[in-house]
C-alpha cells in the first residue's frame, strides 16, 4: 500500500490513495460507494456538511434579502437616516458616529456598521464574495497544483527540476506575506483586463499562493504511481506520456483531489479574510467577512456586533468545511475500514 507523506504542508499528514488492495470490500461495492457508506455513518461530518450547505444557500440569497427585505444594497450607507424600531425613532449613526445595534426587524436586522450600512446585508454579500473567492482560488490551485505535480512527478528530470524550483520559491514565502505582497501590488494597478478592485484579484492571488501545498504532495504520489505495473503496462502498449498522465495516473489521484478540495477551500476563505482585513484582499466598498471585521475594529466597544457577527460566520464556515473535509478523508481513506469493521 503506497501512502505518501505530505510532510511540510499545513494540511493532512496522510494522503489517501485508491482503494486498490482493500480486501474487506463486500462483493459488488465499489470504492466510491464504500466511501459514501462510511460518510453516511459519520453524523458529525454530515451535520457540518449540511451547515456549510445552509451557509452557501443563505449567501446565495443575498440579493433577495437585500431587495425584498432589507431594501438596501451592500454598499448603501445611511448615516443620517432615522428608522423606527419598537415605537422609537433612532438615527442609524448617532451624533458621535455610534452605529445602531441589532433591531431584529427587517431593516438593520443585525445593526449598522460605522458607515451606516446594514450589517446583515453586508454579511450575506460578504459571505458570497468570500465563498466565491474561495471557490475560484480552490479551482485555480487544484488545476495548476495537480497539473504541475503530475507533470513533475511523471516526467522527472529537467521538467521536475524546473517545476520543483518554482514551487520551492513560492513555498519559501509565508502564505500571508506572499498574499499581501501580490494583493497590494495587483490591487493598485490591476492585472491586464482584471481591475484592481475586482474580486478576481484576491482569488488569483490565493489560488497562486496555495499551488505548492497541492503540487508537492501530488508530485510525491505520482513518483510512486509511475513505477507501478499498470503504468509499465501502458508504456509497453505504446501510450504517449500525456495519455498515461491523463488516463492512468490522474484517475488514481481522484481521492487525493477530493480530499484536498475542502482543505484548500477552508484555507482560501481564511486567507481571503486575512488579506481583506489587512487591506490586500477585497477592496472597498465590496464586502467580505475580513473587511467587515477590519471596519468593525474601530467600533469596539460600543458596537461589538460589527466584529462578532462576521467573525462567527467565518468560524462556522471554516469549521464546517474542515469537519466535513475530515469526514470525507476518513471515508476515502482505506484504513478507515478497520474502524468500520470494529
Amino acid at each position: 500500500m503506497a501512502t505518501t507523506s505530505a510532510s511540510g504542508t499545513e494540511f493532512s499528514g496522510e494522503i489517501p490513495v485508491s482503494s486498490e488492495g482493500v480486501g474487506e470490500i463486500p462483493p459488488g461495492i465499489g470504492p466510491w460507494q464504500l466511501a459514501w457508506r462510511r460518510l453516511r455513518r459519520n453524523k458529525t461530518a454530515l451535520f457540518f456538511g449540511g451547515l456549510f450547505l445552509l451557509i452557501v444557500v443563505l449567501c446565495m440569497l443575498a440579493p433577495v434579502y437585500s431587495h425584498q427585505i432589507a431594501h438596501a444594497g451592500p454598499a448603501d450607507g445611511f448615516p443620517d437616516k432615522q428608522i423606527h424600531v419598537g415605537g422609537t425613532t433612532e438615527y442609524v449613526l448617532g451624533v458621535t458616529g455610534i452605529p445602531i445595534g441589532p433591531t431584529w426587524h427587517s431593516r438593520f436586522f443585525l445593526g449598522a456598521d460605522g458607515s451606516g450600512r446594514d450589517v446583515a446585508v453586508r454579511l450575506l454579500y460578504g459571505g458570497r464574495n468570500s465563498l466565491e473567492i474561495g471557490a475560484i482560488a480552490t479551482i485555480i490551485t487544484m488545476i495548476l497544483g495537480v497539473l504541475l505535480g503530475v507533470v513533475a512527478g511523471y516526467l522527472r528530470g529537467f521538467s521536475d527540476g524546473v517545476i520543483r524550483f518554482g514551487l520551492d520559491v513560492l513555498w519559501a514565502f509565508p502564505a500571508v506575506l506572499l498574499g499581501v505582497s501580490l494583493g497590494v501590488s495587483i490591487a493598485v494597478g490591476g492585472l491586464g483586463p482584471i481591475k484592481g478592485n475586482s474580486l478576481y484579484v484576491p482569488a488569483l492571488v490565493i489560488g497562486i499562493v496555495y499551488i505548492p501545498y497541492v503540487a508537492r504532495p501530488v508530485r510525491g504520489q505520482v513518483l510512486g504511481l509511475r513505477e507501478r505495473e499498470f503504468v509499465d503496462a501502458a508504456r509497453q502498449q505504446g501510450l504517449s506520456h500525456s495519455r498515461i498522465m491523463l488516463f492512468e495516473i490522474l484517475p488514481n489521484l481522484a481521492s487525493t483531489i477530493v480530499v484536498f478540495m475542502p482543505l484548500i477551500l477552508a484555507n482560501a476563505i481564511l486567507l481571503e479574510a486575512g488579506l481583506s482585513y489587512l487591506g490586500a484582499g477585497v477592496q472597498p466598498p465590496n464586502a467580505s467577512w475580513g473587511t467587515m471585521i477590519s471596519d468593525g475594529i474601530n467600533s469596539i466597544p460600543a458596537a461589538f456586533h460589527n466584529v462578532l457577527v462576521p467573525g462567527i460566520m467565518l468560524v462556522l464556515t471554516v469549521m464546517s468545511i474542515n469537519v466535513f473535509g475530515d469526514g470525507l478523508r476518513d471515508a476515502l481513506d482505506p484504513r478507515a475500514k478497520v474502524r468500520i469493521a470494529h
Binding site: 454598499a75 448603501d76 450607507g77 448615516p79 443620517d80 438615527y91 449613526l93 448617532g94 451624533v95 458621535t96 458616529g97 455610534i98 460605522g114 458607515s115 451606516g116 493598485v188 484592481g196 478592485n197 487591506g279 477592496q283 472597498p284 466598498p285 475594529i297 474601530n298 467600533s299 469596539i300 466597544p301 460600543a302 458596537a303
Partner: protein, 563 residues
C-alpha cells in the same frame, strides 16, 4: 508502544519549533527596538516619571526630511528639529502663530519696497552632528527643498524668491535671489514681489537649515542634521521614530530646550491608540487623528480632565480635478457641493466636523460672513437638485475614481462620497491607498486624480497659506498640493495681490479676502464638507500645567513633561 512514537515525535518537534520561533522573535524584537521596549516598560509602570513620552500616531509622516515632509505628523517633529531664520512662539492656541526670531538674531528687516529681506545668523550655532552652521547653508537649504521638491516649494519659494523657479526647473545652478556671507552671517533674500507672509515662509521646517552638501534627495529614514532643541533618530519606516534632545543645541531665547525625549509609535488602529492613552500605556494621542465615536463616551466619562476638543484653522474637503471630466464642468462641481450631505459626513466623523462651505475656516481672517451659494450645509444636501445639475452638465454616467486614505473616518467619508456620486448620476468607484503614501500619490500630476479626500491645516495664520492649494503657480509635477489643478486667473491675480500685505495689516484687507473666498465657493472649485475639531488627549502621566497646544503644530512636544 510503537504507535505512540510518531505522534510523540511530532509533538516534540512542534514544541522545539515553537521554542525556536519564540526565541527568534524575542531576539529580533529586542534588538530592533530597544527603545520601544524601554518605552513600553516605562509606560506599563503607569505613574513613572522616568523614560520618554510615548506618542501614538495613526498615520506615518509623509517624510521626516524637512525638505519633503508636509503633513502634520512630519511638522510636529520637524519644527522642533529644524529651526529656520524665524520660527513660532511656543504658546497656546492662536498666540502660537506669532513669528519670532529663530536662527537669525532678529526678525528680518524689510526694504521699503518690501522686496528685500535681510537677516543675520546667530553666531556659535551647531547642527545636531556637531558641525558649525554657516550662512550659506540657508541658500543650500532652500535650493534643496526646491529641488526635492517640498510640497510648498512651487508657491512659497518659486513664486516668491528671485531665481528659485529657474533653479527648480534646472535653468540655473543656484538661486540668484539669495546672497549669504559666511564671514558676517548676513543673509539677503530678494523677492519677485512683496510677500506679506515671507516671515512665515522662513519659519517653515522646510526652511530649517541643513548642512551644505546634504544629498539633494528625500531622506525619510535618515533625516539630515538640523538645528533645534531636538533631533530625529531611530526611524523605522511606518513603525516608529524618536525625537530626542539635541546635545549640540545652543539655547535661543523663546525656544525652550524641552523636557523629555519623545518616542513615536505609528499604528493605523486609532481605536487601540485611543485606548492605549486612556489606559496610560501611551501618553499622547495624535491630535490630527479622530477618536472613534464608540470610544468617546468612555473617554469623556473616565478621562474628562485630560481630554478636550480644540478648534484649529483647518478645512476638510473633496478636491475635484478641474482639468478632467467630469469636474472640468462647473455644473458637475456644483452638483457635488449642492448634494453632499454634511450632516451625514459629520456623523461619520464622530461628530467632529463643523459644517461650512467656504474654503477659509471660520477663525481665519477673510472667512466670508454671507450665505453659502449652494444651500445651507447645516440642512443637509439637496440630492434632487444635484441629480438635475449632473444631467444638465452632460456628465451623467462619467466614470469617477474616488481616492481615499485607509484611516477612520477618512475612508468612511470617501465611501459615502462614492455612494453619493453614484446616486447623483456618476459611475464612481473608490480607490483606497495606504495613509503614508496617500498625499505623495495623489500629488503626482502624472496620476491626474479625479477626486478624493483632502484637508488643510494652517501652516500660518494668513489666508494666503490656504490659497496655496488653489493657485496655478502651485501646480507641480510631484508632491503637488493643488490636487484639483485649479488655475483661475482671478484667483491667481487677486490672491497674489492680497498676499503682498504684511501679516500685521491683514485686518485691513479682510473684506477683499472674503470676496475672493466667496468667488471660490461660487465657482465650486472644491467641495468643502466641514471644519474639523481636534482631540487633545493625554495620559495621566503628562503634566498638563506646562503642556502647550500650539495653534499650528498641535501638541508642542518640547513642552511635555511627566508628572
Amino acid at each position: 508502544m510503537k504507535r505512540y512514537v510518531r505522534p510523540l515525535a511530532a509533538w516534540l518537534l512542534t514544541a522545539v519549533a515553537a521554542l525556536a520561533i519564540a526565541a527568534c522573535g524575542g531576539s529580533s524584537s529586542s534588538s530592533s527596538s530597544s527603545s520601544a521596549a524601554t518605552s513600553s516598560a516605562a509606560a506599563s509602570s503607569g505613574g513613572s516619571s522616568s523614560g520618554p513620552i510615548n506618542v501614538v500616531v495613526g498615520t506615518a509622516p509623509d517624510s521626516l526630511d524637512p525638505g519633503f515632509g508636509y503633513t502634520t505628523q512630519a511638522a510636529e517633529a520637524d519644527w522642533l528639529s529644524y529651526t529656520g531664520l524665524t520660527t513660532y512662539a511656543h504658546a497656546n492656541g492662536q498666540a502660537g502663530g506669532q513669528v519670532i526670531p529663530g536662527l537669525a538674531t532678529a526678525l528680518p528687516t524689510v526694504s521699503a519696497d518690501g522686496k528685500t529681506y535681510t537677516a543675520t545668523l546667530r553666531p556659535g550655532l551647531h547642527y545636531s552632528n556637531g558641525a558649525a552652521v554657516k550662512a550659506s547653508d540657508f541658500a543650500y537649504t532652500i535650493e534643496r527643498s526646491s529641488k526635492i521638491p517640498w510640497g510648498g516649494a512651487g508657491q512659497f519659494y518659486g513664486g516668491t524668491i528671485v531665481g528659485a523657479a529657474d533653479y527648480a526647473a534646472g535653468k540655473a545652478k543656484s538661486i540668484s535671489g539669495i546672497k549669504a556671507d559666511d564671514a558676517t552671517g548676513k543673509i539677503t533674500i530678494h523677492l519677485i514681489a512683496p510677500y506679506g507672509a515671507f516671515d512665515n515662509v522662513l519659519a517653515f521646517p522646510s526652511s530649517g537649515l541643513v548642512p551644505s552638501g546634504t544629498p539633494m534627495k528625500n531622506m525619510p529614514n535618515s533625516p539630515p542634521p538640523g538645528v533645534g532643541p531636538y533631533k530625529i533618530t531611530n526611524v523605522v519606516a511606518n513603525q516608529s521614530f524618536q525625537v530626542v534632545k539635541n546635545s549640540h543645541w545652543t539655547p535661543i531665547p523663546g525656544i525652550p530646550s524641552g523636557f523629555s525625549d519623545i518616542s513615536v509609535k505609528i499604528s493605523s488602529n486609532v481605536s487601540s491608540n485611543a485606548l492605549a492613552v486612556l489606559q496610560n500605556s501611551a501618553d499622547v494621542f495624535d491630535w490630527a487623528d479622530t477618536i472613534p465615536g464608540s470610544l468617546l463616551p468612555q473617554i469623556q466619562s473616565q478621562a474628562s480632565s485630560r481630554y478636550s476638543k480644540k478648534v484649529m484653522n483647518s478645512t476638510y474637503y473633496v478636491f475635484m480635478n478641474t482639468k478632467t471630466k467630469p469636474f472640468s464642468s462647473q455644473l458637475a462641481r456644483e452638483a457635488v457641493v449642492t448634494g453632499l450631505d454634511q450632516r451625514a459626513m459629520s456623523r461619520l466623523g464622530s461628530g467632529t466636523l463643523i459644517p461650512g462651505c467656504f474654503f477659509l475656516p471660520p477663525q481665519m481672517i477673510g472667512h466670508p460672513t454671507g450665505q453659502c451659494p449652494y444651500g445651507n450645509p447645516a440642512n443637509g444636501g439637496d440630492l434632487a437638485k444635484a441629480k438635475q445639475l449632473v444631467k444638465q452638465s452632460g456628465m451623467a454616467g462619467t466614470p469617477v475614481t474616488v481616492w481615499s486614505e485607509t484611516r477612520t473616518p477618512r475612508q468612511q467619508w470617501m465611501t459615502y462620497y462614492t455612494q453619493f456620486l453614484n446616486q447623483i448620476g456618476f459611475k464612481a468607484s473608490q480607490k483606497v491607498i495606504a495613509d503614508a503614501t496617500y498625499f505623495p500619490t495623489i500629488g503626482s500630476l502624472k496620476l491626474n486624480p479625479q477626486t478624493g479626500f483632502a484637508d488643510w491645516n494652517q501652516d500660518f495664520p494668513n489666508p494666503i497659506d490656504f490659497y496655496l492649494l488653489v493657485q496655478g503657480s502651485a501646480i507641480q509635477q510631484t508632491n503637488n498640493q493643488n490636487f484639483g489643478q485649479v488655475n483661475d486667473p482671478h484667483v491667481n491675480s487677486t490672491s497674489a495681490k492680497l498676499g503682498a500685505t504684511p501679516g500685521s495689516k491683514l485686518a485691513s484687507i479682510a473684506g477683499q479676502w472674503q470676496a475672493l473666498d466667496s468667488y471660490l465657493a461660487q465657482k465650486a472649485y472644491i467641495g468643502v464638507f466641514g471644519y474639523q475639531t481636534f482631540p487633545a488627549f493625554t495620559s495621566t502621566r503628562i503634566d498638563l500645567s506646562s503642556a502647550i497646544f500650539h495653534g499650528l503644530y498641535g501638541w508642542d512636544w518640547s513642552s511635555l513633561k511627566l508628572k
